[in-house]
C-alpha cells in the first residue's frame, strides 16, 4: 500500500508563509496539516493607545492585497463605536473603491496565481511568452482596478483618503466618467476571462461544507449586512464571536475558527452560495456559462466564483458611477469626535471572505482594545478538512501529483497569510 511523505515548505503563489504537511502509511492518512509559519504581527495589541483616526491607516497595513477591505472594516468598527452615521455619497464611494479592490485582487488570483497551475507553468512569467494576450489582459484589468481605487482613495495599497465618517479627497465627475468608459470597455475583457475560465481543467472534488457570508436584502453584500450561513445561521455583526469561535493551534500563528461544524468556508464561493439571488444579471449569466450553481461544494471553484464576482463588480461599479454622476460629487467635511467613546464591530467581505474588526474606544478618542478576525484564519480548519477528504481520493496517484493538487487546493482559497496572523508551508511528512 502507498506511503506518502509530502512536505511543501513555503507554498508559492500565495500571500504569506505556509507549509503543507501530509503523511500516509500503508494508504492510511496519518497527518494532514497546513502549518502557518508567518511571523506573528500583533496589530490588535499595537492599536491600543493610538488615536481613533489612525486605526484604519494602521490596519490597512495588515494586508497589501486587501488594504481597502481592512480600512473599510476598521472604519465601520470605529463609526459603529462612535455612533457616526454616513452620508449617501460616502456609502457610494466606499462601495465603488471596494469594487476596485475586488477586481484587482480577483484578477491577480485568477490570472497570476491559479491559471499557471492549470496551464502547466510555474508562474505568470512564462505565460508572457505562451499566452501574451491573457497576461496583457490581466495587466489591463489590474490597471483599471488600481486606477479606480486611486481616483477615490489615492492608491490601492494603503488608501489615503478613506477616513472615519467620510473622505479627505473626492474624485471629479470627469474622472468618474472616464473610469465608466473603461469599465464598459472591460466587458470585453470579462467575456475573454469567462472564456479562459471555461477552458481551465478544474479539479473535480466536492465536500459538503457550511458557507458563511454577509447578506443584505437589497444588494450583493460586500460592506455591512447580516452574518448568514448555508446551515441556516443568522447573526447580527455584534454576535460575530458566536460564528467564529476562535481557537489557537500549535502549528499555526493564525487562529482557527468553527461555527457549528468542525469548520466553515468564507470567500467568493461562500458569497456566491449565500447571495446568488443578489448577483447582477450579467454575473448570473457568467455563472451559467461556467456551469456554476449554488450550492457549489467544490472548493477549487472558489476561483470560478471570483470570475463571476469580477463581472458583478464591473457592472455594479458602472451603476454606482451613474448614480454619483447623476447626483454630483460634493466635498463633505469629516464629522468631529463626538466626545464619547464606545464599542463597535465593523464587517465587510474582503476578496478572501468575511472580515471583522471590533474596537473599544475611550472617551479621549484613543483605542482601548481591538480584535480582528481575518478570512484566511476562518478558512484554515476548512482547508485541512478538505485535505483530509481529498488525499484518500487521490492517494494512488504519483506523489508529485498529490503535492500539486494540495498546493492547488490551498491556492484555490486565495489565502492571505500575513493577514491571518494574529498563517502557509505544504509538508508531506
Amino acid at each position: 500500500m502507498t506511503n506518502i511523505n509530502i512536505e511543501v515548505h513555503h507554498i508559492t503563489r500565495v500571500e504569506g508563509h505556509g507549509n503543507i504537511v501530509v503523511n500516509a502509511k500503508n494508504g492510511v492518512l496519518e497527518e494532514c496539516r497546513l502549518d502557518i509559519v508567518e511571523t506573528p504581527r500583533f496589530f490588535e495589541a499595537m492599536l491600543r493607545g493610538r488615536p481613533y483616526t489612525q486605526s484604519s491607516h494602521i490596519t490597512s497595513r495588515i494586508c497589501g492585497i486587501c488594504a481597502v477591505g481592512h480600512a473599510t472594516a476598521s472604519l465601520r468598527a470605529t463609526e459603529n463605536a462612535l455612533g457616526i452615521e454616513l452620508s449617501e455619497q460616502t456609502a457610494l464611494l466606499r462601495k465603488l473603491i471596494f469594487h476596485g479592490e475586488m477586481l484587482d485582487s480577483h484578477v491577480l488570483h485568477v490570472y497570476m496565481l491559479v491559471a499557471p497551475d492549470m496551464l502547466g507553468v510555474g508562474s505568470v512569467i512564462p505565460l508572457v511568452k505562451i499566452a501574451p494576450d491573457a497576461v496583457l489582459r490581466a495587466l489591463r484589468i489590474k490597471k483599471l482596478a488600481g486606477d479606480l481605487c486611486a481616483a477615490i482613495g489615492g492608491r490601492h495599497t494603503h488608501p489615503i483618503a478613506m477616513a472615519v465618517g467620510g473622505f479627505t479627497h473626492f474624485p471629479s465627475v470627469a474622472e468618474l466618467k472616464a473610469l465608466r468608459g473603461r469599465l464598459v470597455d472591460a466587458r470585453a475583457d470579462m467575456a475573454e476571462t469567462i472564456k479562459l475560465a471555461k477552458t481551465l481543467p478544474w479539479p473535480q472534488f466536492n465536500r459538503e461544507t457550511e458557507y458563511v457570508a454577509l447578506r443584505k436584502e437589497d444588494e450583493y453584500a460586500f460592506i455591512d449586512g447580516v452574518i448568514t450561513t448555508t446551515d441556516g445561521g443568522k447573526y447580527e455583526l455584534s454576535d460575530y464571536r458566536r460564528v467564529t469561535n476562535e481557537r489557537m493551534m500549535p502549528h499555526s500563528s493564525a487562529k482557527h475558527c468553527a461555527h457549528k461544524r468542525e469548520s466553515y468556508m468564507v470567500g467568493a464561493l461562500a458569497r456566491f452560495n449565500v447571495n446568488y439571488d443578489k448577483l447582477h444579471p450579467r454575473a448570473v449569466a457568467a455563472a451559467q456559462e461556467l456551469g456554476l450553481k449554488p450550492i457549489c461544494t467544490n472548493p477549487f471553484l472558489n476561483t470560478a466564483a471570483q470570475v463571476v464576482e469580477m463581472v458583478h463588480s464591473v457592472e455594479d461599479a458602472i451603476g454606482i458611477i451613474d448614480e454619483l454622476v447623476g447626483r454630483g460629487v460634493h466635498s463633505e467635511p469629516l464629522p468631529p469626535f463626538p466626545g464619547k467613546g464606545g464599542e463597535g464591530v465593523g464587517s465587510c467581505e474582503v476578496p478572501r471572505g468575511i472580515l471583522f474588526h471590533d474596537y473599544q474606544i475611550g472617551d479621549d478618542g484613543r483605542v482601548i482594545g481591538a480584535n480582528c478576525i481575518i478570512p484566511t484564519g476562518q478558512n484554515l480548519a476548512n482547508v485541512e478538512a478538505d485535505m483530509r477528504k481529498l488525499v484518500p481520493e487521490i492517494i494512488d496517484r504519483p506523489q508529485d501529483e498529490i503535492r500539486q493538487m494540495l498546493e492547488m487546493l490551498v491556492r484555490a482559497y486565495d489565502p492571505c497569510i500575513s493577514c491571518s496572523v494574529h498563517f502557509l508551508d505544504v509538508k508531506f511528512v
Binding site: 513555503h10 508559492t12 503563489r13 500565495v14 500571500e15 504569506g16 511571523t39 506573528p40 504581527r41 500583533f42 490588535e44 495589541a45 499595537m46 491600543r48 493610538r50 488615536p51 489612525q54 491607516h57 494602521i58 497595513r61 495588515i62 494586508c63 497589501g64 492585497i65 488594504a67 491577480l108 497570476m112 496565481l113 499557471p116 510555474g122 508562474s123 505568470v124 512569467i125 508572457v128 496583457l136 495587466l139 489591463r140 489590474k142 490597471k143 488600481g146 482613495g153 489615492g154 492608491r155 490601492h156 495599497t157 494603503h158 489615503i160 483618503a161 477616513a163 473622505f167 479627505t168 479627497h169 489557537m248 500549535p250 500563528s253 500575513s418 493577514c419 494574529h422
Partner: protein, 247 residues
C-alpha cells in the same frame, strides 16, 4: 547576461512586492532587463543563484536572522524594499510596549507558542546596499532604482523634505487647514501623495538626513499643536528610530 534578481519577505503585508507586480502594468519590459529567479508570492520556480536581492519586511524574530544573513551572503547587492525593511515600520509600534503584554494580548496563555522580539529594520541585522522607502513603495521609484542598479549608479533617492514636492503640487498646506503633517522632516519622493489626497504626511519614508527639528517645533507652536500629537503620528512608522534616538 541579464542580472539575476530575487525577492524575499519577512514581517510585512507584502504590499511592496505587489507594487512590484503592479509596476509591470506600465513596465512589462522590466522582464527583458532582469531575470527573476525567486519571487515566492508570484512564482513557483526557485533559484538560489541571484546577484540582487530585494527584501521586504522587518525582522521580528530570532529565527528569521539566519535566513536574512544567508541572503546577504549570496547577494552582491541587497536592497531594503519599503518601510518595514527600511525603518522597521508599523511592526515596531509594539517595541514601545512591554513585549510580554503584547504577546498575551493577542495569544493569551498560548503566547509561548509564537516566537517574536522587538521588530527592527533589516539594516540592524545585515549590511544594506540601497533602500527604497515608503509604505508602500512608489512604482516609478522602484523602476528608477532598478535602472540605476543596472547601470551601476547610486539609486536616486531624494534627501530633501516632502514639503518641497507638496509646494510644487500647489497643495494647500495641511497645517493651514488645521491638520498635522510630517512633511517638513520627511524624505521626499512620494510626490506628496498623502497631502494631495487630503491627509497629512505620516512619515513612512523616514526622516531626511539632518532634519530641521527647530523649525518643526516652530511650526507646532505657530499652529497650536502639541509634540504628543506629532509623536502619535511619527511613531506609526518611526517607533524604531524614535527609540534609537532616546538610547
Amino acid at each position: 547576461m541579464k542580472p539575476k534578481v530575487a525577492f524575499f519577505d519577512f514581517t510585512s503585508c507584502e504590499g511592496c512586492q505587489l507594487t512590484v507586480v503592479d509596476s509591470l502594468q506600465t513596465h512589462v519590459d522590466l522582464l527583458d532587463a532582469v531575470e527573476i529567479v525567486q519571487f515566492r508570492e508570484a512564482m513557483t520556480e526557485k533559484g538560489e543563484d541571484y546577484a540582487v536581492a530585494f527584501v521586504e519586511g522587518s525582522i521580528s524574530r530570532q529565527s528569521d536572522e539566519a535566513r536574512l544573513k544567508q541572503i546577504r551572503e549570496q547577494a552582491a547587492v541587497l536592497v531594503a524594499l519599503g518601510a518595514c525593511a527600511h525603518l522597521g515600520g508599523v511592526n515596531a509600534m509594539k517595541n514601545a510596549m512591554p513585549l510580554d503584554d503584547v504577546r498575551r494580548y493577542v495569544y493569551g496563555d498560548k503566547a509561548e507558542w509564537y516566537e517574536t522580539y522587538a521588530a527592527r529594520p533589516i539594516s540592524a541585522v545585515v549590511k544594506v546596499d540601497a533602500f527604497i522607502p515608503g509604505c508602500p513603495i512608489e512604482r516609478e521609484e522602484f523602476i528608477e532604482v532598478v535602472k540605476a542598479l543596472l547601470m551601476g549608479r547610486k539609486p536616486p533617492i531624494p534627501d530633501w523634505p516632502m514639503c518641497v514636492e507638496c509646494k510644487r503640487k500647489e497643495n494647500v498646506c495641511l497645517f493651514h487647514q488645521g491638520g498635522y503633517c510630517l512633511g517638513p522632516v520627511t524624505r521626499a519622493g512620494c510626490g506628496a501623495i498623502c497631502p494631495t489626497y487630503g491627509d497629512g504626511c505620516e512619515g513612512c519614508r523616514g526622516l531626511i538626513p539632518d532634519p530641521n527639528s527647530n523649525s518643526m517645533s516652530d511650526v507646532l507652536v505657530k499652529y497650536g499643536l502639541t509634540v504628543d500629537d506629532m509623536l502619535a503620528r511619527w511613531t506609526m512608522f518611526g517607533t524604531y528610530q524614535q527609540m534609537e534616538l532616546q538610547k
